[in-house]
Amino acid sequence: MSAIASLPLDELLIQHSCVRDFIDSLGLEIQESAEPLGIWLDRLPDEDILDAGMERPQILAHAERLIQEVARMEDGSGAGVASLTLIGGRDKNGTPEQARISVRAGEVLCIVGPTGSGKSRLLADIECLAQGDTPTGRRILIDGAVPDEERRTVLDRKLVAQLSQNMNFVVDLGVRDFIGLHAQCRMVAEPEIMVERVIACANDLTGEKFGPETSVTQLSGGQTRALMIADAALLSASPVVLIDEIENAGVDRRRALELLIGGEKIVFISTHDPLLALRGDRRIVIRNGGIAGILETSPEERENLERIERVDATLMEIRERLRRGLRIESPVRWPQ
């Protein structure tokens, strides 16, 4: 007989709300009392057990594993990653890539190259923490070592989070409830405060503000991206964030990057956008399925970035005027 069977229900249900949820989900009604779980189960009519869809020993074993699992989730949540190392494989012709790149927490690496050149493949290699087992033969080290099986496969706190243009919110919930659900499963200490922070940060990234009651499926493209980025930076379990093309979505890209860097994330962005590409510390150039080179952002490029940002701000102003129903008649003056 398992140890959990002799636990009185009141103690069990108060200490382990997960067990109450589980028993609810079986359609069984349970009330706090001094009766031990095992006896309570034995006294249930067989018909109820049949309806529940699990045998008594299966229910006990499940509750026991559940308690262990929740405990493991609670103490495993803080594990960070200091660096990720990418070791090159080969390009489409089988030519070896001469690359070994280490990226630290709080660093942004951009991936540039023509459409179809293999940027997404590189992101996919990082996502699955490739160990020479993908078509490119690339390998990924975490903190200088091959990540163990456990780290690679634990799902709800995966090492790598991914944001891409074709991902959408599909659940029918308001923003607050939705992010609240995430906070709850991340077991953060003060979920309400965290939820407000995520919403505020997301609103900070987008010109069009939204309220906490807005349904997530009704957010615009820009609002959706903004909320995804804020959540990834503040709430996601993953120390590594991969972003596949977020340009033109009405998101303040500079702030978005600052937010991710501030969250001590290791960030990879596949992009054609100069505002993003030059803001990163380095960029990987992809050609013909392989890593063709790594460019460090030079001081000249950083200066140019400032100019490009001013041009971008001018454009943003024009957009904002359009949005407000104003005319664009005064001659446009581009900053120098």
Binding site: C128, V171, S236
Partner: protein, 235 residues
């Protein structure tokens, strides 16, 4: 031969996932085949055949598809052995959320669809709760937030299972899944093996062809709803 039971609601991506995994296992030199059990019709056999996988189909017709599954799984196993397979997948749709084809000692996979909403894992019965591996598909079209919440819900619904994300279209995640499946214990015979959980006894009058509605026609295993506004009068 290894037998793997794959179950999941209609259209979650069972066939897609099996195809991706079969391709990887085939490359390792394993002879892989599939039996597909469904209720009325299926075109999955064509998808499997296109990839050169031996496939057999069973249609339950007027019988509960999951009951039909149990009555036929031994014959499916024998078919697989005659084909000289190393590994046989059975694909069946868990249509009622209550039946589950999982057999003790036989590796059991449940496929769930991330699009189905974050509360779905809780609602899937023994099919998910008693599986060894839980596979989450369609993660590519939902947000990271939903993926994390969904994975967490799957973990609560079955804390004993290993869970995987697998994209049925691109195959992203399939290699870890294939490695886990390749480790399944062999099944030589199913004689005397047991289901992990009994399927509901579905012999109400309507099971055997009754069509008339009304109290007088309802004999046998009939179960009535209880309504909150009438709790006092119900015995």
């Amino acid at each position: 031969m290894q037998l793997i039971t794959v179950a999941g609601s209609p259209s979650v991506g069972k066939t897609s996932v099996i195809l991706r995994v079969a391709e990887l296992l085939g490359r390792q030199g394993l002879a892989v085949g599939v039996v597909k059990l469904d209720s009325l019709s299926t075109s999955d056999d064509q998808l499997y055949a296109q990839k050169g996988l031996p496939v057999a189909v069973g249609l339950a017709g007027s019988i509960c598809p999951d009951h039909y599954f149990v009555s036929n799984i031994e014959d499916c196993l024998a078919w697989g052995q005659r084909q000289g397979l190393d590994l046989l997948f059975s694909e069946s749709a868990g249509l009622c959320n209550r039946c589950s084809p999982h057999i003790q000692g036989v590796m059991a996979v449940c496929v769930v669809d991330a699009l189905a909403g974050v509360h779905t894992p809780k609602k899937i019965g023994p099919m998910l709760r008693l599986a060894d591996l839980a596979v989450i598909t369609k993660g590519d079209i939902v947000s990271q937030v939903e993926r994390e919440v969904f994975a967490y819900q799957v973990r609560l619904a079955n804390p004993g299972a290993r869970a995987f994300f697998c994209n049925g279209i691109t195959g992203q995640g399939a290699s870890d899944l294939a490695a886990a499946i390749a480790r399944a214990a062999p099944t030589h015979s199913l004689e005397g093996q047991r289901l992990r959980f009994p399927m509901p006894a579905a012999v109400c009058p309507y099971c055997v062809g009754e069509t008339a509605i009304g109290e007088t026609h309802q004999r046998g295993n009939v179960k009535k709803m209880r309504f909150a506004d009438q709790t006092e009068v119900t015995p």
